[in-house]
Amino acid sequence: MQRTLTILYEFRDTLLYGLGVTISLSALSMLAALVVGLVAALGMLSRRRWVRAPATFYVEFCRNTPILVQLVWVHYAWPEIFGLKFTAFYSSLVALTLQTSGYLAEEYRGGIEAVDKGQVEAAKSLGMTHARLMARIVLPQAIMRSVPGLLNQFVTCFKSTSIVSVIAVPDLMYQAGLIVSATFLTMPIYTIVAIIYFVVVFAISRSVRWLTRKLPTTGYFGAAA
């Protein structure tokens, strides 16, 4: 135990740097996915087939390919397919955004479809166009409904980031690997890393749970509760 703490102290900068990369990668991809996912969800629900078909394909593709495959594909294949060459960090960001936006799109879609159709009819009968009733009536309610699901996806997204070490992004996992290969302290280092992931993910998911319970006390949810 004493030894483990000493090791932890000795490599604190390397590990903290890795944790910083992990956190920024998951936060940035989550932010991007919040937007991309919403656009994809609206696309899937569009009345126009030429919008609906590609949006649905995008979401299904993102949800039905493993994150590792997406990561390697973006990093090594996109330069040839699309002529887009990213640094390892940006490739990771793109891959994580693809994956997460697919799941978020489904969360949004569930929220949108759960909004009572009667309100849509009422909005139409008041002369609102489709765009206006989506923006003013459906989405505000759909997004509020989706919040718990969206927050849960953040936990998944955070955990998925550990995969980016395979293309040498210096995240927490990659930094741990560096230390292990330099010191051969395999057991203590990977144990420490496991504990760090656990502590962070546990803290996030507990906050999500707290927030989710907290939500229904504001606005019209308060009235419904």
């Binding site: 009572d116 009667g118 309100q119 009819e121 009422a122 909005a123 139409k124 009968s125 008041l126 002369g127 609102m128 166009t129 489709h130 206006r132 003013r136 009536i137 505000p140 309610q141 509020m144 606005g219 019209y220 308060g222 009235a223 419904a224």
Partner: protein, 262 residues
Amino acid sequence: MTEAADSMAPAIAFRTVSKSYGQHQVLFDVSAEIPRGATVAVLGSSGSGKSTLVRCVNRLEDFQGGEIGVGDVRLAPGVATRGARKLNDRQVAKYRTDIGMVFQSFNLFQHLTVLKNLIEAPVGVLGWSKEKAVARARDLLAKVGLPDKEEAYPSRLSGGQQQRIAIARALMMEPSIMLFDEPTSALDPELTGEVLSVVKELALGGRTSLIVTHELTFARDVASHVMVLDHGRLVEFGPAKEIFRAPRSERTRRFFESGGLR
């Protein structure tokens, strides 16, 4: 067309309107001319197609045969036209601003307060100033007997209160036509009175109204005309007085009897 002739033109003209859901036909060649300013009770047992017919007027439902003339707009299967011009989605939306609708399930916007429910469309769709909309909203809230509820969320209100708000919301737009789709069917019996009196006092005056209802006493009280539908066919249409006194069809007579009217 001269002005005199124009004022004689029906507000709503159903011409052989037919509708089906897949194989199941729900309206059969319904024809009726609704005079301007009429209050029409649309009667019939459940599943007779009366709600569907009314929902066709503001294009919440399309239909497969015939046409409906509403003012200078002609609704036909899959298309709405004004003169020779086809209306696009935006123009159909605009067309709906002149037709208020009250639903069985109220359909208030759950995320908005009562006041915001009322001013949303006048400000956003009609382009009123917020001051004008709020002033009219307060006036209507007082008239429906809920002046103290403007900051309440719909889910805090009773069904009767929600429906009175929904009526006020429709009236905000100052529509020349009002459609009521079973406005009291979702309410506890003790709450129907407050809603029906708001309909009668506030919503009917001067405009053309179609009221789908099961409240025969109310219908006899307010209606100038009566339509009776049976399995998608119009079996009776005419001035309310005559029909309530002496229904022409056997179907209507039985319907009135089952409703306890005679």
